[in-house]
């Protein structure tokens, strides 16, 4: 009985993963369609990166099991993200405040 229950649980889990897999493929297709439709650049960025963010969220939550993981892992990732954002803010500050007599060159 326990083995059968475990097997049923795993089958249910696999069906969930297949659904996420199909969703990821569909969202990839949607991103390509947005690109082909060629909207304005700003609309294109928002839509395409928005779709990528949804894909990444699905992958992280279900394929990487983050949605059912211990809170400690969420804290590790949150601290990492805040660290990264802090570094970008420092960089932005440096770019807007160059050393007198110099310019940023790209």
């Amino acid at each position: 009985m326990t083995t059968t229950t475990a097997a049923v649980d795993i089958q249910k889990e696999v069906r969930g993963y297949v659904l996420i897999f199909v969703s990821l493929l569909a969202l990839t297709g949607l991103g390509v369609i947005v690109h082909i439709l060629n909207p304005s650049f700003l609309v294109r960025i928002v839509l395409i990166l928005g779709i990528a963010t949804i894909q990444a969220t699905l992958s992280a939550c279900y394929f990487m099991h983050l949605i059912s993981e211990k809170k400690l892992i969420n804290w590790i990732l949150l601290i990492t993200f805040l660290n990264f954002v802090g570094m970008v803010i420092i960089l932005l500050g440096a770019m807007s405040n160059p050393i007198h007599g110099t310019t940023h060159v790209t």
């Binding site: 897999f21 947005v34 894909q55 660290n83």
Partner: protein, 198 residues
């Protein structure tokens, strides 16, 4: 008593077995690495203004889509190899991880073909800032794919001997390898639109 504790049973303080905490800490460092690359791309592109080329004018969209499908499929097959072990199906694990390895090789072949096309058109990292960041980001990503291929290849081959003596620990190892693999896929999920669609 295990020589190395908490390879199967979770620690009471973290609620996780050691390898799982370890892989997430490692991935946190990888987030910083690729975060640095992506933010460099953003700053370079914003600074270049109209001089920055549209990715679609240089990249082959078909090959990019093909690689995206290959990688997402490999994530799925990696998961199926882990669920096979959970269901005590070692043959299923071998099959699905074997398919994952084949898809990984296919991805790298497509990537090499793309690079050869670029070189054929005399587009090198030194050609422009765009090409430099393209080769850097996709190259580092490809190295991560190669690393995953080596680890997964070991797990499929000699590493799978652990299944006989310690099936739970081996299942956990595949779970950890899978988490790394999904992260590499996640990076490509952002890399593809940034390089090919925008």
């Amino acid at each position: 008593m295990d020589a190395i504790p908490y390879t199967v049973h979770p620690r009471q303080d973290t609620g996780l077995y050691n390898a799982k905490l370890g892989i997430w800490l490692f991935l946190a460092s990888e987030v910083m690495l690729f975060g640095g690359f992506f933010s460099s791309y953003i700053f370079l592109r914003v600074g270049a203004g109209d001089a920055w080329p549209m990715g679609s004018s240089i990249q082959n969209l078909g090959l990019g889509v093909l690689n995206t499908v290959i990688l997402i499929a490999s994530s799925m097959t990696m998961l199926l190899s882990w669920t096979s072990l959970k269901a005590n199906n070692f043959a299923g694990f071998k099959k699905w991880l074997g398919i994952t390895l084949l898809l990984t090789v296919a991805f790298l072949c497509v990537k090499m073909f793309e690079y050869s096309l670029k070189f054929g058109h005399h587009l090198y990292p030194s050609t422009s800032t765009y090409m430099a960041i393209y080769f850097t980001m996709t190259g580092v990503h490809a190295l991560h794919i190669l690393g995953g291929l080596i680890v997964n290849g070991y797990m499929w081959g000699p590493g799978s001997k652990m299944w006989k003596d310690n099936p739970e620990q081996f299942t956990n190892r595949i779970e950890i390898a899978g988490i790394y693999w999904h992260f590499v896929d996640l990076v490509w999920i952002f890399l593809f639109p940034v390089m090919y669609l925008l």
